[in-house]
Symmetry: C2
Subunit: 326 residues, 2 copies
DNA sequence: CCAGCTCATGGTATCGCTAACAGGTCCTCG
DNA sequence: CGAGGACCTGTTAGCGATACCATGAGCTGG
C-alpha cells in the first residue's frame, strides 16, 4: 500500500480512502491512485483490514449433508446471494446432527471471524445448539422450527403438505396415507402436521404415518408394505426420493399408478418429471430460501432487528402420479 | 491474550507458544496457561495470526453448480477431509463456466488469503483459467483434463466408460450407442473417448454419439429418437439422470429394458438402484476424489511437488437395466 | 478583509499476534 | 569448578490496514 501511495504521490491514508470511501477523495487524486493500484496490481490485505475493522466480508454456513438435494440447493442460493453482495461463504459441515457439533461448527466459523452464520440443519437438535450462542454473533436459521431465538427463513412445510393432501382428497380418495421423514427433522414433522390437519379438517380417518429416512431405499421397503394394503389408494410421501422407491414397490406389486394408487412427493427434484409415472409433487424454492436467509443475516449484521421469520410458499406441481380414486 | 498472560503469570509470548508449539513450554506453565485460557474463554484472533504468519487455515473451492450430484459430492469430500485437518473451506461458485469467471473466482478467494485453491470445474474453459495463475498460490484441479499446469485429482472417466461399453458388448450386443454430456465438459469427452476406444478395440461400428446436457429432460428427448431405431439395442448414457430420461422414453415407445434395449448410466446416484428397472451404472467415488484433491493441495502448500495426477478408479455396478442382446 | 466553514489530505496510534533474538537457570562434563 | 549447552521464558519489532484527529487550502459572507 505504501508503494501505491508513493507512486501516486499521496499518503497511505488516501489510498485507503480511495478504496473504501471514494467520494471523499478528489476525482483527479482518485484517478491517480487507481492508476497506481492497477500498475502495481495492488490488492488490499483482508487480514489487516479485518484486524482493524472487525468485519471480514465472510459469512459462515453450518450444514449437515450437502449432498442432499435440499441443503445443496439452499447452500447454492445463499452463495449466489452472497456473491452478489460481495460476501464470501465459508462452510462447516457436521459429522452428525446434534447440539455439540452444531456448537462446534459455529465456533469453528467464528474463530475465522465470519461476520455472521447461517445454520442449515433442519433438525430438532439444532434448536439446542442455537439456544446457547456466543453473544454478538449474528445467526440466522434455515428451515428451523418455531420459537427459535434467531430469525428463520423456511419453506412453509405445513402449507405444502396440506395442499398435497387436499389435492388427493379432491380426487375422491377416502383418506391419504403418509410416509414421513425421520423423526426430529423439522421438515418431516411440519409435513406430518400439515397432512394431518388437512385430513382432520375434512373429518377423514388419519392413518398412522410410516417413517422413512429420506432415501429411495426406505421408500421402497415401506412402499412394499403399503402396496399390500388394498385400502391404500393415496400416499403422500415426504420427499421425492422416497416417492421413487414407493413407485417401484407399487409397480412390483402390480398396483398401477395412478389408476390404483395415487402418489405425491415433496421437493420437486429436477428428475421428478421423469419418474415413472411423472411425479406429482410439492416444489420448494430452495434458492429463494437461501436468498431470504442471506437477507435476514445482512439485516442482523447491520443491526436491524426486523421480522424474525420469512416463509417461502411451496407450490403443488400436478403430474401423472395422481388420479381419481378407483 | 494479554489478560490470559497476566492471569497465568506469564508473558503474552508464552501464551502464544502454548497454543502453537506446546512442547516448547514446561508442562506446568502450559497447564496454568491453558487454565487461564479456559477461564477467560479466550480465542485467538485469526486475522492477527494471518497478518503475521501469512497462513490462514482456509482453503478455497471454486466450483460451478453445487446442486449437481458430482460437484456437490466432491465438495462434501473436500470439506470432510479439510475438517479432519482443521482447515476451513470457503467456496466461490461461478455464474458461468469460462476463463474470466474462473479467474475472478480464484481472485475472490485469494483476496481472503486462502492458503490454496481447489478448482472443481471439469470444463475445457477451466484449463484457460488455470494457465494464468497468480504466482505463489497453490492450486489443485478436480476432474480436469491432461497437461494442466497444476496437480489433478480425478475419476478415470476413460476407464469407466470402456468398462461400461465392454460390459454391453459381452452381453452380445453388436455395438453400443452413446448419449454424451455437453461438449467441452472434460468428463463428457473422457467418456466418449473410453466408449469409442472400447468399440474400436473389438472392431465394432462406432455410431455417431448423441449429445445431451446432463438433465433427465434431454435424456428423454434424445431417448425418444433412439427408441425409434430398431438397430439400437444397447445405450451407454453419460450420466444417471439422462439415463432416467432414456428409460422413460424407451418405455413410452414400447421398448422393454433390458429385453429389447440395454442401458448403462454413469455416476451411481443414490437412487439409481430404484430406477425402473434398476440401473446398471458406473460408480464414481466422489468423496475419495475430494480427499485426494485435498491431500494434493496440502502437499503443494507444504511445498512438496510430488505426483501431479491422482486417478480414482470407477466401478461398474451391474443391475437390471442390462441384459443379453435380443 | 478576516472569521469561520467545508473539503481534501496527512500523521499517528492501534488492532492481536508471532518471528527473531536475548537472557536467565540449571545441569553436564572435562 | 567453570565453560558450554539445553531448555524456558521474555522483549522488541513489525505484519498491513483503518480510526481518529489535526492541518492547511480555498471559499463565503458580513
Amino acid at each position: 500500500m505504501e508503494d501505491v501511495a508513493e507512486l501516486a504521490g499521496v499518503s497511505a491514508m488516501t489510498v485507503s480512502r480511495v478504496l473504501n470511501a471514494p467520494e471523499k477523495v478528489r476525482p483527479e487524486t482518485r484517478a491517480r491512485v487507481l492508476a497506481a493500484v492497477r500498475e502495481l496490481d495492488y490488492r488490499p490485505n483482508s487480514a489487516a483490514r479485518v484486524l482493524v475493522t472487525g468485519r471480514s466480508g465472510v459469512l459462515g454456513v453450518v450444514c449437515f449433508d450437502t449432498t442432499l438435494y435440499g441443503p445443496a440447493s439452499t447452500l447454492f442460493g445463499i452463495e449466489q446471494a452472497a456473491r452478489d453482495s460481495d460476501y464470501l461463504v465459508s462452510i462447516a459441515s457436521l459429522p452428525a446432527l446434534n447440539r455439540s457439533w452444531i456448537t462446534r461448527g459455529i465456533d469453528r466459523l467464528r474463530s475465522q471471524s465470519v461476520d455472521g452464520v447461517i445454520v442449515v440443519a433442519p433438525h430438532e437438535s439444532a434448536a439446542e445448539g442455537l439456544r446457547h450462542l456466543p453473544p454478538g454473533l449474528p445467526v440466522v436459521d434455515v428451515g428451523g422450527g418455531t420459537d427459535l431465538p434467531v430469525p428463520v427463513a423456511a419453506v412453509d412445510q405445513y402449507a405444502g403438505a396440506a395442499r398435497a393432501t387436499r389435492h388427493l382428497l379432491s380426487l375422491g380418495h377416502r383418506t391419504v396415507w403418509h410416509l414421513s421423514g425421520p423423526p426430529n427433522w423439522i421438515d418431516a414433522s411440519g409435513r406430518v402436521a400439515g397432512w394431518r390437519s388437512a385430513l382432520e379438517a375434512e373429518g377423514r380417518e388419519v392413518p398412522e404415518p410410516l417413517v422413512g429416512d429420506w432415501t429411495a431405499h426406505s421408500g421402497y421397503e415401506i412402499g412394499k408394505r403399503l402396496a399390500r394394503e388394498p385400502d391404500v389408494t393415496a400416499i403422500f410421501v415426504a420427499n421425492d426420493h422416497m416417492a421413487m422407491g414407493v413407485l417401484r414397490a407399487l409397480r412390483e406389486t402390480g398396483r398401477r399408478v395412478p389408476e390404483d394408487v395415487s402418489v405425491v412427493g415433496f421437493d420437486d427434484v429436477p428428475e421428478a418429471a421423469y419418474f415413472w409415472p411423472p411425479l406429482t409433487t410439492v416444489r420448494q424454492n430452495f434458492g429463494e430460501v437461501g436468498r431470504q436467509a442471506f437477507q435476514l443475516l445482512l439485516d442482523r449484521i447491520a443491526g436491524v432487528e426486523g421480522e424474525a421469520r420469512r416463509m417461502v410458499e411451496p407450490e403443488l406441481v400436478v403430474r401423472e402420479s395422481t388420479g381419481i380414486s378407483p
